[in-house]
Symmetry: C2
Subunit: 208 residues, 2 copies
């Protein structure tokens, strides 16, 4: 059984999708044993508490250095014997020490079809604003392993949705979350926990 | 009834998809009245002749300047009262004079989900090689109007296909053609001929 830490910064709808997947038995060989928030008071913490999951707040804004934050984060992950770190709307940069220590064991979800609309500056609503400005007819979400390059790690899963003519960034964000992120993230976590992910360089494959 | 010119440089499978769509009645208000190839002897010319469509070869390599090629191309388009220019595997750059004269009346198909794997240097198999190198799980094709920026014009239609673990660039190219390009291109041409395309800046919408 693998120990999963979910890192959050806000409302936590992706965390909720993972909690629901755990309850329904979709995540067979893993348990969400820790939720870490980079901000105090966010609703994701409430969701974790309601599900009986231990929570921890590491308020990024109160750390003077990236290294200080990374040290405390790594200490918490190790103290809880975490095998898999899931970034679920986590708006804080992870330092290279964390990424190196958890190489190919950190999963992120990004609200576009990488390599479109990703990398530095593309987060949250900005991604959907950019997609609408470009006039794309398809967008979606990508679940990937995290490496040192923003949104540059091995891709695990992608799923598309159609853009509607009357879409606002908010409406598109909601549909991408519901139809893509909340479907893909539990599936990727499940595959990880069952050792069904094979990585070769920057290419990842999910085994059946 | 709109006059359509299809510009080709090779095998002409996208041309064939358009010929088939015309035969089946999918393209209601248009007729392919001219096929122009930038190379002599290509199989696309044979397909056109077999369908009873007039052909013209403008051998790009024998033109010393872009302007010379553009002039002859524009003259041919005008002589045949062409309303719509379709780039169907056309591997030659169009000069700005042609683009300006046929503003929002040139349709191109690109074998990726723009803005992924597009722009300078991304053509033919190179697009699919890049997609496989990045390890994307979804790719597809985009039909768009042509402006002065390579693959930068208003997007009309996009359609995705899954990348398979054992895909080669050739296998992926074939699937993108069959499942995306050959579906999207006739649909876009049909919509154009029925005046069902609305363009606002760099955003295009297809009316029902």
């Amino acid at each position: 059984m693998k120990n999963i830490a979910v890192l959050v910064s806000g409302g936590g709808t992706n965390l909720q999708a993972l909690i629901d997947a755990q309850r329904s038995g979709e995540i067979k060989n893993g348990v969400i044993s820790l939720v870490i928030s980079s901000k105090a008071g966010v609703y994701a913490l409430r969701r974790a508490e309601d599900a009986g999951i231990k929570t921890l707040v590491l308020p990024r804004s109160e750390y003077e250095t990236q290294a200080g934050f990374d040290n405390d984060l790594l200490a918490a992950l190790k103290a809880h014997y975490i095998d898999l770190v899931v970034l679920a709307g986590f708006l804080t940069i992870l330092g290279d020490s964390v990424i190196a220590e958890y190489r190919n064991r950190i999963i992120n979800v990004h609200p576009s079809l990488i390599p479109a609309f990703c990398g530095k500056g593309f987060y949250g609503l900005k991604v959907h604003e950019a997609a609408l400005s470009r006039g794309v007819k398809l967008t979606g979400a990508t679940v990937h392993l995290v490496n040192e390059e923003p949104d540059g790690g091995p891709i695990l899963l992608q799923r598309s949705v159609e853009v509607r003519e009357d879409d606002t960034p908010e409406a598109l964000q909601k549909r991408v979350m519901r139809e893509c992120e909340h479907v893909l993230l539990p599936l990727a976590v499940s595959k990880f926990c069952e050792d069904k992910i094979r990585v070769d360089g920057n290419i990842a494959a999910l085994l059946p």
